[in-house]
Symmetry: C2
């Protein structure tokens, strides 16, 4: 029931996107996160301390291992491993583009930082956004750092990889929002209940092919507006401020 060398090697290999894609799995660690994911994703492998198993008598997985804290530390990708580590199967979703016509969605154009992606998934969940469409070059949602940063929101928010110009171009008459330095004041723009908000790459913003499809250019006002400030906000921060304003307008209308 302990942790074999091969298993240890397998767990560590899940840091690589190539292996995760081949195996169609992802890694999650820590009791809160693993609890949140159970029931949403099929668990292939579960390694936990005796105490964790005592507290979770019904936990099921294709393969389970009771391990010592020391073994867990060797397996873990975290700085401070905690009680449980699980390998889940990646879900398979069909893309239904009409969802964009009925509700508010996010599109991410080449976001590179795994922590940013995870944080965006977490805030999307908070603001009731159920679908995130990522360009193919966006960082992998199953990167362990992304999964940890979602804090469990990955169980509720569906993330799709697809060509953004193809997806958005296929839809007629939907509001497509993006943030730009020359955009309109976010607070003065009437924001809709359905549509898609595009957020761009950390360094380069929204790419030219996607920018063409934006029909509502927004700007998050800095304060005071005449003061020289940093040139931009972190992309997850900008996403949050925009999503919060969409929801504020709907609920206070």
């Amino acid at each position: 029931m302990s942790l074999s060398k091969n298993k240890l090697k397998y767990i560590h290999s899940l840091e690589q996107k190539k292996i995760r894609k081949e195996e169609k799995v992802f890694l999650a660690e820590g009791p809160k996160l693993v609890d949140d994911l159970f029931g949403h994703f099929s668990c292939q492998y579960l390694a936990a301390t005796a105490q964790w198993f005592e507290e979770h008598p019904t936990a099921q997985a294709d393969e389970v291992a009771e391990v010592s804290t020391e073994e867990l530390m060797r397996a873990s990708l975290l700085k401070s491993p905690q009680q449980v580590l699980a390998v889940f199967q990646q879900p398979e979703y069909n893309i239904d583009a009409t969802i964009i016509q009925k509700s508010l969605s996010l599109a991410l154009d080449d976001i590179q930082d795994p922590g940013n992606l995870g944080t965006i998934i977490r805030l999307a969940d908070w603001f009731g956004i159920e679908h995130i469409f990522c360009s193919p070059d966006t960082v992998d949602v199953y990167n362990p750092k992304t999964i940890q940063a979602t804090m469990g929101a990955i169980a509720r928010v569906k993330v799709h990889y697809t060509s953004l110009p193809d997806l958005i171009g296929s839809l007629q008459n939907i509001p497509v929002y993006g943030t730009f330095l020359d955009g309109n004041n976010l607070y003065e723009e009437p924001l809709s209940e359905a549509g898609i908000i595009i957020m761009g790459n950390e360094g380069n913003g929204i790419g030219a092919a996607v920018e063409k499809l934006v029909n509502h250019r927004l700007y998050i006002p800095n304060y005071p507006q005449q003061r020289k400030t940093s040139e931009s906000l972190n992309v997850a921060i900008a996403t949050a401020v925009v999503c919060a304003e969409f929801r504020r307008q709907i609920t206070t209308r």
Copy 2:
């Protein structure tokens, strides 16, 4: 002019808070960040490629070294080192608590993640917040990950470490804001132009001693409000949504 073993060891030692504190310095990397910090902080040591020096003929430091890209890679704490690395002196600020009566400030109660702190400094700069007061157990602002995440905003936002109960307790009649799950809807609360916004630890929120001093309890509404969502937002995300709403209210009042 190249990089000695001792210098390499010194640079790497700046990952440790203890050494940074003894030496009263911090490390910054990359052309944009280093450019932003020059003129704001005294530069003790500068290692850069020949190309960087060509583009910066007036760059001054107590000690300079022209290095190869390979040497820079060995010195760097980043995954993809870029052209220049600099060691700056930590600034010394006097705390003027009356600033809280005149403008909007932030207080951070035991924020632990260096990236979160850097992101908060960056967004504070965007929203015109010039002072951040950190509890003594908040992560060190001169952690290299924090400095990188500020994207240069550390040149404009002053960060102070002090007992938050002592600081806030010393002030009379100032609005003290904090976010709580049982707080009032952020959008329905009239927000002031001056005062202090307290943000709590990633896992535990605002500590009991500081919570007592909060006289305006806020809540960032999730959407739709009856839906089960993640239990919380990342602290930098919550800070952004709160600060944005303070500034929205002032500018649209």
